[in-house]
């Protein structure tokens, strides 16, 4: 089955380039020869049902796992295979918001956010503190600078994780299930923040999610993965896929259809 509606480049600069990616664990191949581009300034959503390889794909994109074969380029720099050492060069280009926020539990929120700033800039502590305060206020966490991650709620932890991912104003942001475990209001606020950041800083966003409302609010483009073909079954804007897709699985996903219960 060929993926439908592959988006053409329109000469837009490419932020992430994936070619013939084969990914998996041990003897099991999860993704087979996946190819796609993420363009600069795009809010790009990776969709799919559980177990289709969304998180696996994300782990490959951020360089946590080296693929079995295939190539990944971030900002024109290849990070796979023998070019894996280039990862050091791209770490500053992207930020990642992990599903469980990934905050260091022994450090306060301020220390967590300050960590990349101390690592990668020459700023003095005074300016770093100012920036930390700004980043935390951007995600509505003013006043929580001295709290430890264990002292705040899950939603707040997620926002603090976002503040840390944002600390160096990366050109690409990766989100692993950003709305998981958040209430609808916080989730909507996060969506608004994503759009806002994309608009003001032109940040490219790659989001792994299956929250339909959030997808329709933020996504410029989505790809849908499927475990049956171990690859992409659809590529396009969410509205287009919902209204015009001929693929039964895509239709089923967007219309939230399930097999009827025989009661």
């Amino acid at each position: 089955m060929e993926p439908e509606n592959i988006t053409q480049s329109d000469n837009k600069p490419v932020a992430i380039k994936v070619r013939e990616l084969v990914a998996g664990y041990d003897n099991e191949i999860v993704l087979n020869k996946v190819t796609f581009d993420v363009f600069q300034g795009e809010i790009f959503v990776i969709l799919g049902s559980s177990g289709c390889g969304k998180s696996t794909l994300l782990k490959h994109l951020i360089g946590l796992i080296d693929p079995i074969s295939g190539e990944i380029e971030i900002g024109g720099i290849k990070i796979t295979g023998k070019d894996r050492r280039n990862l050091q060069k791209v770490f500053r280009k992207y930020g990642v918001l992990f599903q469980n926020s990934g905050l260091l539990s022994s450090m306060t929120l301020a220390e967590n956010v300050a960590l990349p700033l101390q690592q990668y800039t020459n700023l003095t502590d005074k300016y770093i503190n100012t920036l930390v305060k700004m980043k935390l206020s951007l995600v509505n966490l003013s006043g929580f600078e001295n709290h430890l991650p264990s002292e705040i709620s899950g939603g707040m932890r997620k926002r603090a994780g976002l503040a840390r991912a944002l600390s160096l104003n990366p050109s690409i942001l990766f989100f692993d299930e950003p709305s998981a475990g958040l209430d609808p209001v916080t989730s909507a606020e996060l969506d608004r923040l994503i759009i806002h950041l994309n608009h003001t800083l032109g940040t490219t966003m790659v989001i792994v999610t299956h929250e339909l409302p959030s997808i329709f609010t933020v996504a410029h483009r989505v790809i849908m993965l499927d475990k049956r073909i171990r690859g992409i079954i659809a590529d396009g804007t969410p509205q287009y896929l919902r209204d015009h897709s001929q693929n039964p699985y895509v239709k089923q996903f967007f219309n939230r259809e399930v097999e009827p219960l025989n009661l």
């Binding site: 301020a110 800039t121 300016y127 930390v132 700004m134 951007l138 264990s150 160096l168 104003n169």
Partner: protein, 382 residues
């Protein structure tokens, strides 16, 4: 990290008027890459000219991010300290948006937040005392819970998972055999060697066998084994259970109506109490073997003579006494390991703390209980 040299003339020009106004004209970009260098530059400009008014002209600024905003906040604070003013002219749309997004106007004069306060020594002393009290209380609560779960287990023996017991016996006992054997063998060797230096002077070589066998079976065998088990298994129990606690696995057990004590604590206690006595016997054997090696190679004793002397010295009572002590040690080790795991809360650091505390507390309790045994025995044996 050292950043490459940036030609700052691309990014600003300055003009100082005699009236006391320093105007900084910003060009192109003010962002992560050049902020640190520009901060240094502007601070030295302010120091040189001592202006009363600082004006930032943003007319030609094409890109501004929050690092730039932080620079303005810093400049405003510096001017505030000098009782001067700071203002913008020609703010363009982009800059306006970024400034409002980062709440520049409401960002107070105080640029940083208060650091987490370190309490004074008396507060800390008090906190430690309260913490100690709570710790003792929770130890007894845990002991009570464990006892209760024992009774519940007798009521319904199906609640205990035998596979877990077997697995823990494997981890605590079988996997510890090589290290217990090696350490006991070396200990027997060292003891025989050290004592022979003294005993040889009196021609009492044969008593090396008595010394090694008696001290190892009654004291050192159980203690050394217990310390090894504490280091290997109390820490493992605390880390396992602590991680389960912080990842809400124990809460999940609780809500399923499964007693976490029966599910997690009992298998570990039972397994440890079953295998530690066997480990002690194993340790006794290897220590005697160590003594035998020294006796036969350096002290001209025969294998037969050494073994006969050992058997004549040891009574079954000595061996059983060591074994009995080791059961008590095993109880303490497994109990404290599980307790520390249950006490973990928060994040990864607390699991580390629980693990350390499990090892330290169990070694402490082993030594304390051993001293109690010595005193009791002193009166028992008259």
């Amino acid at each position: 990290m050292t950043s490459p040299k940036i030609d700052l003339s691309h990014y600003y020009r300055s003009n100082y008027e005699k009236s006391g106004t320093l105007t900084i004209y910003l060009y192109n970009r003010l962002c992560l890459e050049n902020t640190a260098s520009l901060i240094k530059e502007f601070t030295s400009l302010i120091r040189t000219h001592q202006p009363t008014n600082l004006v930032a002209d943003l007319k030609n600024l094409d890109f501004l991010d929050d690092f730039g905003v932080a620079l303005f906040v810093g400049l405003r604070a510096q001017m505030g300290e000098r009782r001067g003013t700071f203002s913008f002219v020609n703010i363009n749309e982009i800059a306006k948006k970024v400034l409002s997004m980062n709440r520049f106007d409401s960002f107070g004069q105080q640029t940083s937040f208060e650091q987490r306060k370190v309490p004074d020594i008396f507060t800390r002393l008090g906190d430690t005392a309260i913490e100690f009290g709570k710790d003792q209380a929770s130890m007894f609560t845990f002991l009570g819970d464990t006892f209760l779960s024992f009774f519940r287990f007798f009521w319904n023996t199906r609640m205990l998972r035998i596979n877990d017991v077997m697995e823990n016996m494997h981890k605590v006992g079988l996997n510890a055999l090589p290290i217990v054997g090696l350490i006991s063998f070396l200990l027997g060797l060292i003891m025989a060697f050290m004592s022979s230096v003294q005993l040889q002077q009196f021609g009492a070589n044969i008593y090396v066998a008595s010394l090694v066998s008696l001290s190892m079976t009654r004291e050192l065998g159980p203690i050394m084994t217990a310390i090894i088990v504490a280091g290997r298994s109390a820490s493992a129990f605390a880390a396992e259970i602590g991680t389960m606690k912080i990842s809400e696995e124990i809460d999940a057990l609780f809500t399923m109506g499964i007693d976490p004590h029966i599910f997690l604590v009992l298998p570990r206690i039972i397994a440890t109490c079953l295998v530690v006595p066997l480990l002690v016997l194993f340790s006794d054997l290897f220590a005697i073997l160590g003594g035998l090696v020294v006796g036969t190679t350096m002290l001209d004793l025969t294998i037969n003579g050494y073994i006969t002397q050992t058997i004549n010295t040891l009574s079954l009572y000595d061996v059983f006494f060591g074994v009995f002590k080791s059961i008590v040690f095993a109880l303490l080790i497994s109990w404290i390991g599980c307790l520390r795991g249950f006490q973990a809360k928060g994040g990864a650091t607390s699991v580390g703390r629980a693990t350390t505390s499990a090892v330290v507390s169990s070694i402490f309790l082993i030594v304390v209980s051993d001293s109690i045994f010595v005193v009791i025995l002193r009166y028992w044996e008259g």
